[in-house]
Amino acid sequence: MKETYHFPEGLYADIRIEETCDVRFFKLNGELTQDKRVIEAGAKIRVYDGKLWYTASTNEPDEIQKELDALAAIATPDPDILNNPIVRLLEVNVDDRTSLKGDTMLPNIARDRFLTTMKYYEDRCLDTETPEITSWAMMSDGHYEKKTFYSSKGAAISYDYQICSVGYYYLFNDNGRPMEGGKRFFGLTPEDMTGHEAEVISEKERYLDFLKNAVDVEPGDYTCVLSPISTAMFAHESFGHKSEADFMLNDKALRDEWVLGKKVGSDLVSIVDTGDMPNHGYAPYDDEGTKSRETWLIKDGVLTGRLHDSTSAAALSEELTGNCRAQDYYCRPQVRMTNTFMKGGTDSFEDIIKDTKDGIYVYMVSNGTGSSTFVLNTTICYRIRDGKICEPLRVHMLNGSVFKTLFDIDKVGSDFELFDTYTCGKMGQSLRVSAGGPTIRVRTLQVN
């Protein structure tokens, strides 16, 4: 962190420099159809004059000072800018959290190491016998990023992050009805991702069973048991987005509805967000240089916090939380989640199922959205009868009122898991996050 920039007088300014490396390999029926390696560097420059943020993006790192000067020229300096409520909140952290070195660092990882991991699964998971399997696909990818942040207040921060993944997928076709299913694994390096072949094969059997035997659900209200990955999606979509405070700056209706201290769910419900975990939402500092904290959004059913950038924290007179994040250097940061999860409870999965006389077990979901009514799109579900998981069910979606559903959670499992599979979209920006949770039971959800 040796760069020095000349920051303009009477203005707040910050510079976020991003260096990234991305690789991606894709095989379809053994043929390598994607083999990508991209190394990129760019910067986002922001200037604030107390009225408006002026920002510029460049993929010419040598032009940063020029861009900064150009933005300063169109802003209106304010000699008292340091006392602006937003600027006053912005933290001045100095820290170097870079840790990746040598051949664990993606830019130094040879292509063969990814191809070897793909071959590992190819050798163990290839199925040429099952007639319903028409094709198979494999992907492996890696993402490395190093962020460096400087501000006119004196912040100087640097950190890095890396994740690799490998996935094996089967394309099934049963009498003209196609379906795709498989499993994806994550690790720091390609070698960390081997050893999961039994899970791939088990998942293949599950999808085959589903394709051949699933029956249409009778639409209606059901008690639903959500698997950890389904709970994770629920926590993120149904509640996480509502905790992003940029939607309620001066909105009286929403501020009255989301007042801290209000009971919003069952005593069993606690939801937390933190960027300082080594998962897919890792952001020890956000893109305004704020240090991440553990923010309890709901604690024992009570609304206890929300996620902020400097603008929303100043508007609501609350503390910063370290949740101002941007997709990449092309984008202006906004309030976003990091690693968001529902805390685990005490019930075992077996006991939750055994205790459910009539309902639906939601094994896998694909995506979801959340407004007052949240929606979870499902891929594999099962009927529960008399405390046992029965036939596979074709269910399109679950939906319900967020406000009611949080109160309807009556069982929370001890089988907490955190998932690094998530990419979250908001206002045109896709961002890496993780989401987690345990098995939960919801008394009633609408099922279609």
Partner: protein, 406 residues
């Protein structure tokens, strides 16, 4: 074969002003360059991508610097085509961007104080080129002003209740904006009833994403498409014709060549004609591998080899206007909705949480939340009503189709 050098590049300049809760929040601009260098030799190609400027000789050197990363590509790059197309109709300064957004926001807050607004105005200029030493020399330049606002009723507990947007190559006097704002907002507060027969009226680009995947020639060949084995068959409605059309005026920033430098005759490809599937779409690899027609439809990929894609799908318009197609029935304009994935049978469920009801002329009010079911074959088949000859409410093409309440 001697080495063939090819360069693809893009230069893009964007500016935007963003409002949040009726107030200006940020002015953003970017100026970015991307370059892709390709060296073809002996059935292989080396590719190097750089975001930002780089000396061309160095770019080409890096494309072949790692022999392990040379990709099999047993095809010749395109030769000899020359064309320099500009779709630019106007310029719009950053000052004009800010003044227009301010003027529009004032109109919204003066006339509709019961709402709060977010969004703004942006401009985008982009020049894309492809040159190689077989004489190919293509360039495409385009410019558009984008206007988009989201609205939230002050009593609503939702983060957003709806929004509207449009693009223009040449900014008008504000008529398009005012017409859209008035249509969406003037009768929003009235409560309307969900009609017995539910007709959806929407821009069709998102919906056609489903068909795009199903018509990929590789998916068709592998049995991964619900339309596998059905090329040549009549599957959809008599009046449903689908084209990949590069000439459409609402094809923004689209090059007239594909990701492999190929140009379609007439810049159009008919995929479905009067309900009959005529062909899937392919790039050179897929055409060669599965022995299907090469349709010159590869997506653009600066970092790797392209694949089939990059379609500008357009449904042939009806001779009737939207109002004529509705024939006295009201239609639903979805504002906030979430659809399920399509199941193996092509069925899907959609929760429409915010919507307007309109009669083709005016909005009748907003609707309560409801759920509908649809099947992707039926949307373009027995439930297809047509694409109007005019562009009301969206300032763009719109499809009308029936769905079924659940």
């Amino acid at each position: 074969m001697a080495k063939i050098f090819e360069k693809q590049s893009s230069h893009e300049i964007q500016s935007s002003i963003t409002y949040e809760e009726n107030k200006p929040k940020a002015f953003d601009r970017s100026n970015t360059v991307e370059n892709s260098y390709r060296v073809y030799e002996d059935g292989k190609v080396g590719i190097f991508y750089r975001a930002g400027h780089i000396d061309d000789a160095e770019g080409f050197r890096l494309a072949t610097a790692d022999p392990e990363r040379l990709r099999p590509y047993p095809f010749m790059p395109e030769a000899g085509g020359k064309r320099d197309r500009s779709k630019v109709e106007s310029t719009f300064t950053d000052r004009e961007v800010m003044e227009t957004a301010e003027k529009y926001m004032k109109y919204l807050t003066d006339n509709y104080p019961q709402f709060t607004f977010a969004g703004g105005v942006d401009t985008r200029w982009c020049c894309q080129t492809l040159t190689n030493d077989l004489g190919t020399d293509y360039s495409n330049t385009d410019f558009a002003v984008g206007v988009g606002f989201r609205f939230k009723h002050k009593d609503s507990l939702e983060m957003i209740d709806g929004g509207f947007s449009f693009n223009l190559r040449k900014m008008d006097d504000g008529t398009v904006f005012r017409e859209m704002a008035d249509l969406y907002l003037s009768n929003y507060e009235k409560e309307a009833e969900i009609p017995e027969e539910i007709i959806i009226d929407e821009q069709y680009y998102g919906l056609l994403g489903i068909l795009s995947s199903e018509l990929n020639a590789e998916n068709l060949a592998l049995g991964a498409s619900r339309l596998s084995g059905k090329v040549g068959e009549k599957i959809f409605a008599d009046d449903f014709t689908l084209e990949h059309d590069m000439t459409d005026k609402e094809a923004w920033f689209t090059r007239f060549w594909d990701g492999e430098g190929c140009v379609l005759p007439e810049e159009k490809l008919v995929l479905i004609e009067n309900g009959v599937i005529k062909t899937g779409y392919s790039d050179k690899r897929v055409a060669d591998k599965y022995n299907v027609p090469h349709t010159r439809t590869a997506y653009h990929n600066y970092t790797d080899l392209p694949g089939p894609g990059g379609l500008n799908l357009r449904i042939k318009r009806s001779e009737k206007t939207v109002k004529e197609l509705l024939n006295g029935r009201p239609a639903v304009i979805p504002l906030q909705f979430t659809g399920s994935d399509m199941d193996a049978n092509g069925d899907m469920t959609v929760v429409i949480s915010k919507a307007l009801l309109w009669d083709g002329d005016k909005v009748l009010g907003h609707l309560p939340e409801f759920r509908v079911k649809a099947n992707f074959i039926d949307i373009f088949g027995k439930d297809f009503l047509g694409v109007g000859s005019d562009d009301p409410i969206y300032h763009d093409k719109q499809i009308l189709y029936r769905v079924h309440r659940v």
